[in-house]
Symmetry: C2
Subunit: 425 residues, 2 copies
């Protein structure tokens, strides 16, 4: 077996055999297949595709490159959620303690933001004292004590994926459905969850810009999860405009706490409840209605215990950015579009995101929305408030908003897109 023959097979539109896939993933993890060989193979996969069998074997080989976690000792069904990434997508924060409050355990391995999309760990790190890095034992302890844990994936989990993801990021080979699906699912299957709900975002602020691609990705991932014995469903959800009224780190934590307190923006509450119901159903837990757990304070109680168990102070004031800049509505009428990608890039440029993996983020930076598509607006009223510690970034951030806002004449009939567009499973 050698790298060139595997690359050639895929280059010439062949189907890779099981031994070829097993060998190339293992040899790449060990460093025997070089980065320049794997990137050529990734480009051939992106352009020539993979069959369902190939994707399944590829995922399996990545899982076998590392350890598998096991939560069966908990004696409670486990459920996890994965979002393909969006703008203002803070759903994991209220969702994990909410599902825990309803009786399923939530072992949530999360990531950091890259580019215009935010990362759950970056958001939670704006809480003073909170720690993302836990040992496997600490993770199990928090999960046992609080019913939910949100932390970074350890180095032992799917190391082949870790290496391949970093390579794809710099070689223009991210946007391949077989590689996206196997990357996500290898980590989630290795993590050992019993049930998994996928939130596949569609729209300008998402990875998948159209419904057909999103549906193909969702179907591929649901198939992979089920054949690995994980009860998996996917919701396709709208990402043409930001979720909720904030995009940033501390800004999104504040909004999540509002949801846990029984308030918060309607779209965030709706999506949180929809995902919670899917997770509980997939885990086979039928006790409490998640809407009740938001009202009766039990979800908030789980949140406070989970944050405290990971070193955070749930009562500490959240960081606030040093400078604000208000963007007024350009006209009077009905707001019909507030582009998710543009808001994401604006928040990123304000300091909420990072250009390179090793960059720090600003806890207080981001964008606050004062209206959502469908709302009436008056020319000159505050539409957005931009937050940053580094005001010299304002002009660059404002550039990203060019063309992002559309206001139609007052009285124009306009119905915003529903949050949940489709369900696969």
């Amino acid at each position: 077996m050698d790298a060139i023959s595997v690359i050639r097979a895929k280059r010439d539109r062949g189907e890779l055999t099981d031994p070829q896939i097993d060998w190339v993933i293992d040899a790449y993890t060990r460093g025997e297949v070089a980065d320049e060989q794997m990137s050529a193979l990734a480009m051939a996969i992106l352009l020539n595709g993979m069959t369902a069998r190939e994707i399944s074997r590829w995922t399996d080989a990545m899982i076998r490159s590392g350890e598998r976690m096991d939560f069966s000792s908990l004696g409670v069904p486990t459920a996890d959620k994965h979002s393909t990434g969006g703008v203002g997508d803070k759903i994991t924060l209220p969702l994990a303690p909410l599902v825990a409050a309803c009786g399923a355990a939530v072992p949530q391995l999360s990531g950091r933001g890259l580019g215009h999309t935010g990362g759950t760990l970056d958001k939670l790190e704006s809480i003073p004292g909170w720690r993302a890095l836990l040992s496997n034992e600490e993770m199990l302890d928090v999960l046992h004590g609080c019913g939910a844990v949100i932390c970074a994936a350890g180095d032992g989990l799917a190391p082949a994926d870790k290496k391949l993801y970093a390579l794809r990021d710099v070689t223009g080979t991210v946007e391949a459905i077989p590689l996206i699906a196997s990357s996500i699912m290898s980590k989630k299957i290795a993590e050992g969850t019993g049930a998994l709900v996928l939130d596949v975002k569609v729209g300008s602020g998402a990875f998948m810009k159209n419904l057909d691609d999103a549906r193909e990705l969702a179907r591929t991932m649901v198939g992979l999860g089920r054949s690995a014995g994980v009860a998996t469903v996917a919701l396709l959800t709208d990402m043409s405009t930001p979720l909720g009224l904030t995009a940033g780190n501390a800004l999104e934590v504040r909004e999540s706490v509002e949801v846990l307190a029984g308030g918060g923006p309607a779209d965030v509450v709706e999506l949180t409840l929809a995902l919670a119901r899917e997770m509980l159903a997939a885990a086979g837990v039928h006790g409490k209605d998640p809407a009740d757990a938001l009202r009766d304070g039990s979800a908030m109680d789980h949140w406070r215990r989970m944050i405290a168990a990971q070193g955070g102070d749930p009562d500490a004031p959240l960081p606030v950015a040093r400078e604000q800049h208000v963007v007024p509505a350009p006209a009077t009428g009905v707001l019909t579009a507030l582009d998710a990608y543009a808001v994401g890039v604006t928040a990123w440029r304000l300091g909420a995101g990072r250009a390179r993996k090793e960059d720090p983020v600003q806890a207080g930076a981001g964008v606050e929305l004062h209206a959502k598509p469908g709302d009436p607006v008056t020319a000159g009223q505050p539409l957005l408030t931009l937050h940053t510690d580094t005001p010299e970034r304002f002009p660059y951030a404002l550039e990203a908003l060019d063309g992002a806002v559309t206001v139609a004449p007052a009285g124009t009939a306009f119905t915003p897109a529903p949050i949940v567009l489709d369900r696969i499973g």
Copy 2:
């Protein structure tokens, strides 16, 4: 400008702009674009192609990555030949001194064998004392004194191509017409020849297995040469069976000397004369008929001077392999096929070629043919003689001959393919 945006443009079937091409070649040469980025781009080029404009700019950028040679001080028209590589292709050896004897100067930069195809420098190095590595000044001196020089390309010539070729070799991205054409032509244009004849091989022993691909490659290269001001023509020639009666290093030198002495196999003489006439016509030199230069000893005279000027002893006995093994004809009748690729792999395995660039080759190893397609054969007569210093290689070498020989019943009508299949220019 960044590598990912260039990779994405080609990945998404776009046409690269001049600044994108200039930047990516320059940045790759300087090490700013990483190998894993260039290999992803090479795979995207292989699968999505390039326009004539892109190939031309790519070639130009590779030329500008290094120095350009200039032979105008010679005061004599210059002509060079490039073969895309085959089995038993020793044509450069008699051709360069032959064309010099007819009045054009031949600055021939040659390469080494890799895989089943032989390399001109490896062949000449079987002559005791002969040196392939010359400084630019030495090269000019030999050319001035002998009318022809055959040597290795210096490190200063198209360094981008040198780096890219080594990368393509290990990443399954060799077989892309835009990349093959720009690789060959960047070196030949930078070399500074006034006229160029391309010998594009077609058949099992060649890189291009069918006439259509070979024609496309030839047309691409002829176009590149002409737009750079080099008088360029291409012959498409048969490589379904080895050229001449030998494949190896010293074995091919011996056969070349026979041709220079006025003898040698008919196909080698025919192709040598056809290429010599094309080179002289392209260089605008109309004095002597190359056939006369073979008969009157002037070509041999130029050969002896050229070999001696590069440290070689034209009278020294050539190395002979320590062991021989005779392969008999399997049946009586007419030999209708003797596969070039199989013979090439056999010679390679006997030690005439190398698996890695840094491996040494055996001077005496190779295959001798006792019949060519079209010849009558008798069962049991010697058909091939295998030569090696390492007889433990015989079984492995013989394996490569499986299915390589076809003998039809005596009296079967059979006309071998012509040597020259087509002419582009």
